[in-house]
């Protein structure tokens, strides 16, 4: 009962070099952190899993349901890297709209939007227009949008960028809480902050995994003598250097 990618190849244009080639992967249970340098293919991988785009060849499935199907799309929640504010929508309306897009009816989406905003500590700004929110607040609206429809898999593309330290703390607690019930895949550059709390880590470079497995295995790549607070960063750097 998991999200699987089977022999997926994807290029943004037919004549361009594929970002992912014959890529197969099964998303582990719990919280998985997706690491990698810029241009490694993290966002592409997340967009394929979120059914924002379809692979040129191969399939993405959840419980044997391919990503083009309605059931798949309802099972997956997605927060993109860039959260676009919409002039006419307040934070609550924005989150409700995301819920409605996923098939919720109006009253259900409206109620769940309030709960989702509360979980990201944004209730007091629920009636504020999204164009008046700061970058960090907008990202929290984006996270609320991913929580609103009780998805089975939550995909987050660099959700902590622009959040202040306290909000990161709240977000980390929320992630741990979520990962008990659903599969969470999150891309980040925030290696030190998050990798040690994850159940699994995947390191992507050039469209292939340098590592994919549990966090203990990832941390075992830490070079000897690395300070205890920098183990994740050390392991990540070592993996990239080994290539």
């Amino acid at each position: 009962m998991t999200l699987e990618m089977d022999s997926c190849t994807y290029a943004y244009r037919r004549w361009l070099k594929p970002v992912l080639t014959d890529f197969s992967w099964e998303l582990p249970q719990g919280l998985t952190i997706l690491l990698g340098p810029n241009g490694a293919g993290k966002s592409t991988l997340l967009r394929l899993c979120a059914a924002v785009t379809l692979p040129r060849t191969g399939t993405v499935r959840f419980q044997d349901t391919p990503s083009r199907r309605r059931e798949y799309r309802q099972a997956i929640a997605w927060m993109p890297q860039n959260i676009t504010p919409i002039r006419g929508l307040t934070a609550r309306e924005y989150v409700s709209y995301l819920g409605w897009l996923k098939g919720m009816n109006r009253s259900e989406a409206w109620t769940e939007a309030a709960h989702a905003l509360k979980r990201v500590e944004l209730s007091e700004l629920a009636d504020t227009r999204t164009t008046r929110l700061s970058g960090g607040q907008l990202r929290r609206v984006g996270v609320a949008g991913a929580l609103v429809h009780q998805a089975r898999v939550i995909l987050l593309d660099e959700p902590t960028a622009g959040m202040d330290p306290r909000q990161r703390r709240v977000f980390r607690d929320l992630l741990r809480d979520l990962a008990d019930d659903v599969q969470v895949l999150m891309s980040t550059h925030d290696v030190a902050d998050l990798a040690e709390e994850a159940d699994n880590v995947a390191v992507l470079e050039g469209g292939r995994f340098l590592y994919s497995g549990d966090t203990a295995g990832f941390l075992s790549h830490t070079p000897p003598g690395t300070a205890s607070g920098r183990r994740a960063e050390g392991a990540y750097t070592a993996l990239l250097e080994q290539g």
Binding site: T53, L101, K102, G145
Partner: protein, 194 residues
């Protein structure tokens, strides 16, 4: 549906665009101005040619006010709502310009509705290929028409469509075709990766 309307800004942007359209179509009527032309000397150009612009630009602004990836990965048929919005704009423009034309005995006013259909169609087709910059297409089309679209004696060339009289059969067919192709392109391109 309500949030889709608010996300598009249809309740504000389009209403303003439509009021501007009505104001201009009522106010301009047979008004004309001398504009520079490479092919037409100094004959005046009907100002009614420019009347559809606020409505077409307003429509593109509405369609661009969206949550692109969320709408593509959602389960609602937002592309069909957008197509219905475009058709509504065309219908409103045609009906209102027909009424104004009948009330004020202004044949140019009736042509404004047809021209809106043509320019919306061309703009939607361009938007499916080039995205948001397509908002410049109706402006560019009108500029090309003014600069190159008239033969000596103020006869519009056949490709120009918008300066043709309201009774022109080929302009009506071209507008209907542009409209159908533009909306089809809008629906098809909504499946493209944002």
């Amino acid at each position: 549906m309500r949030w889709w309307v608010k996300a598009r800004g249809a309740h504000s942007t389009l209403v303003i665009g439509f009021l501007a359209f009505l104001f201009l179509v009522t106010g301009i009527r047979e008004g004309s101005a001398v504009l520079p032309s490479f092919t037409n000397g100094i004959d005046p150009v009907p100002l009614m040619l420019f009347v559809p612009l606020p409505l077409v630009v307003g429509l593109v602004m509405c369609l661009e006010s969206r949550l692109a990836t969320a709408e593509v990965s959602g389960v609602r048929r937002v592309a069909l709502f957008d197509a219905a919005l475009s058709l509504s704009v065309i219908a409103m423009a045609m009906i209102s310009s027909w009424f104004v034309s009948a009330a004020l005995a202004s044949p140019h006013a009736a042509a404004a509705g047809r021209n809106t259909a043509f320019l919306v169609g061309v703009t939607l087709l361009a938007r499916s290929l080039f995205g948001q910059p397509a908002v410049m297409v109706p402006v560019a089309w009108l500029m090309v028409v003014v600069l190159f679209g008239f033969e000596t004696g103020h006869r519009p060339r056949s490709w120009t469509i918008v300066p043709e009289s309201v009774n022109s059969v080929h302009a009506a067919i071209a507008s209907a075709a542009a409209c159908v192709i533009g909306i089809a392109a809008q629906i098809i391109s909504s499946r493209k990766t944002p």
